[in-house]
């Protein structure tokens, strides 16, 4: 089992958050050579194939679902399966196979993920028939204060901001109470108990691109009446949302935090033909992690087709602000693309690090993120000064 998805890779993160778009199947194939088991990347590829109405989309959703299950993320796997089964109608064996995989899955320690592994076969099928995927762009208002609470939403990917309000007794005026974030594998929608009509006490707005699975209160009520065990599991899930998931929030955001301070670097790209001198380029890192980096090349890169660099070995020389520190990291170019910067054409390459000696790794970590103690203090102050 994959312990967790490697979020250390800046190239994949940039593709997932939409700040880099991949245009062709060939580009994806190159990326899969470097990141063969990243379910998020397979999911982006499957969506692309679906857009192109390619029959291969179903197979790609299937692959992505399997990888999500391996990573302990049944919710995301189910989203993939819904798309796969929209393209190719599933047989009963397919349903049973999925249920069996869910039961065997070792889910992440998040209530929503555990929930999907506890469903009986009939409950899983009934639920999958009623939940519907929805996509939202950044800054979309999904719910406003006072809206009727009439659906339950599962966050497949992306992040949202929830701003809660106090409702004053004398009139409709409200004052701001708190802000929290909803992220991947969280849920929202105050629909319990079913027989109470509730109005939203918060605004919910997307802060990145977001994908949700939604089910209406009406449909869920009917399902829960038919499947009492599902009713119990759902109630429990909604109750736990405010403790376990809340705790997971800051941990997940910490994992997702990326170093975005550009750094000047020199690249030495080795040619395949022996005897041919390496190509020397310079640029700056656009995003760096311990797993890799994106490098925006200088305006004079002049190397012809940028995608020809894919697969080539590279030595990155980094000049850190300390006088005596300039170290080299060996990597492989996994992707390249021409992009506009400040109205002019340049190129960006994604590099996956192959080899960093432990000393350099430590220094790079300090340069990018500081020590664990420093980070912990920042997060603890964030929690106490900004969140509560």
């Amino acid at each position: 089992m994959i312990d967790r998805i490697d979020r250390q890779d800046s190239v994949v993160n940039r593709i997932i958050d939409g700040s880099i778009t991949i245009d062709s199947v060939e580009e994806f194939k190159d990326l899969f050579k470097a990141f063969p088991n990243d379910p998020r990347l397979h999911r982006v590829f499957a969506d692309r194939l679906l857009e192109e109405k390619s029959i291969n989309a179903a197979e790609e959703y299937k692959t992505s679902a399997k990888l999500f299950l391996d990573a302990g993320m049944p919710l995301q796997a189910i989203a993939c399966k819904i798309f796969e089964w929209r393209i190719i109608k599933p047989s009963k064996e397919d349903g049973l196979a999925l249920h069996s995989a869910l039961c065997e899955c070792n889910p992440q320690n998040i209530e929503v993920q555990k929930f999907f592994t506890k469903l009986a076969y009939e409950e899983m099928i009934a639920l999958m028939a009623k939940i519907v995927p929805h996509n939202y762009p950044v800054n979309a208002m999904l719910r406003k204060f006072g809206d009727e609470e009439n659906e339950l939403c599962f966050v497949i990917s992306g992040a949202l901001e929830e701003t809660s309000y106090h409702r004053l007794e004398d009139d409709e005026k409200v004052k701001k109470k708190s802000k929290t974030n909803l992220i991947e594998s969280d849920i929202f929608g105050e629909i319990y108990p079913f027989d109470e009509d509730k109005l939203s006490e918060s605004d919910i707005e997307s802060i990145t691109r977001v994908e949700l699975l939604k089910i209406s209160k009406l449909k869920l009520t009917a399902l829960c009446t038919e499947h009492p065990n599902l009713n119990l599991l759902m109630q429990n899930l909604c109750k736990l949302r405010f403790d376990a998931n809340r705790e997971m929030y800051s941990k997940t955001i910490r994992k997702a935090t990326r170093h975005q301070l550009p750094m000047q670097v020199n690249l030495k790209i080795f040619q395949e033909q022996s005897g041919k001198p390496p190509l020397k380029l310079s640029g700056f890192t656009d995003d760096i992690s311990l797993g890799g980096t994106c490098v925006v090349l200088g305006a004079k890169y002049q190397i012809g087709n940028i995608s020809d660099l894919t697969g080539k070995n590279v030595k990155i020389q980094m000049n850190l602000p300390i006088e005596s520190i300039s170290f080299n990291i060996l990597g492989i170019i996994v992707w390249g693309k021409e992009i506009p910067v400040e109205g002019k054409k340049t190129a960006i390459v994604g590099v996956q690090f192959k080899e960093i000696n432990p000393v350099d790794r430590g220094i790079l970590k300090g340069y990018c993120f500081g020590s664990e103690a420093e980070q912990n203090l920042i997060w603890s102050l964030w929690d106490s000064l900004m969140e509560k």
Binding site: K176, K179, I253, T257, R258, H259, Q260, L261, P262, M263, Q264, S282, G283, F284, V296, G298, A299, K300, N319, L320, P321, I322, E323, S324, I325, V341, E342, G343, K344, T346, V359, G362, I363, K365, G366, Y367, C368, F369, G370, S371, E372, A373, E374, Q375, L377, I378, W379, L381, W382, L385, M386
Partner: protein, 309 residues
């Protein structure tokens, strides 16, 4: 490199550096409005675009194609930095544009940088406001460290806070590194200390000082303490929407004091103003902003504090 240029000569301008690391925190907008207010207060002010990798400050002042840029100074077309200052529509406010081929000046040679820094102190102005580029390359940090007032601008978001702190952390290590450039063993020690999990278990600048004190027989420790102690930060939280968000700058202050032993002043907050975002995207000069804007008022207060300080 000596931090803080000589101020004894009355004609030496006071240099304010606006940094903070991450792109998109509003450094350029803040620098422009800050320079505008200083000029309005009657101070002869030069706003300089030190974003050597992606200069765009001229557009915020409504100047489409600056006829002189830093390139012209670096390439010796003009020998005096004052000659490349461009007048703006605001009395007392001039601009040194960094506009050039994108990325081509991002890493000037050491001698070019020194020349630029030397000439900064000779500018005929009361204030020079340096709008630093994103990142923590040593060039950005060096411009930050020579300023009399070192201001970091951040927004109330986790990544912005973290990146602003890392910017300050790297500036401190940059300074330590320069101060110890003639002492190889000390340089090596600083390199070790940069690794958060170093074998010597040095976790803070304070612990680094203790270690040096115990192991080094020279008197450099007092100089190091003094020089690092002289780094006094100004912190500004930008695009604030509510009271809680005002605390973002405080987070950087607390962590910097604890781990880097540097003190700071919280210069306050700048309110979120959607008009500013729209003006930037529509390329409307920022000095045309309605002065009843809360953000304008906030920066006026900060400019007042800075000019008195």
């Amino acid at each position: 490199m000596k931090e803080g240029l000589n101020t004894e000569n009355k004609s030496t301008p006071k240099i304010l550096a606006i940094g903070g690391g991450k792109g998109g925190a509003g450094k350029s907008v803040f620098s422009t409005i800050m320079a505008f207010w200083l000029a309005r207060m009657g101070h002869r002010t030069v706003l300089m675009d030190v974003d050597l990798g992606g200069a765009n400050l001229h557009t915020l002042l409504g100047i489409k194609n600056p006829d002189r840029t830093l390139n012209d100074f670096i390439t010796r077309k003009f020998n005096d930095l004052g000659d490349i200052c461009i007048d703006t529509s605001e009395k007392n406010l001039r601009l040194i544009s960094g506009a050039s081929d994108v990325l081509s000046l991002a890493n000037p040679h050491f001698s070019q940088k020194i020349k630029l820094m030397t000439h900064l102190s000779r500018l005929d102005a009361d204030y020079v406001v340096l709008d630093l580029g994103a990142g923590t390359s040593f060039n950005v940090l060096d411009f930050f460290l020579i300023a009399h007032k070192k201001i970091i601008v951040l927004t109330p978001e986790p990544t912005s806070i973290q990146n602003a702190y890392i910017f300050v952390r790297n500036a401190v290590y940059r300074k330590l590194s320069r101060l110890s450039s003639k002492n190889p063993s000390l340089q090596a020690l600083i390199k070790i200390a940069m690794d958060p999990k170093n074998i010597l278990k040095i976790r803070t600048v304070k612990e680094l000082f203790q270690f040096i004190e115990e192991s080094d027989d020279t008197n450099i420790i007092e100089d190091l303490k003094k020089e690092i102690g002289d780094i006094h930060l100004g912190v500004v939280t930008n695009r604030v929407k509510n009271e809680k968000e005002e605390n973002a700058g405080r987070i950087v202050q607390i962590v910097a004091e604890k781990y880097l032993t540097i003190t700071s002043t919280n210069f306050g907050c700048v309110s979120y103003d959607s008009h500013i975002q729209k003006m930037v995207s529509d390329m409307v000069p920022l000095i045309n902003l309605d002065q009843s804007s809360q953000a304008y008022g906030n920066i006026y207060e900060i400019a007042t504090k800075l000019s008195k300080g």
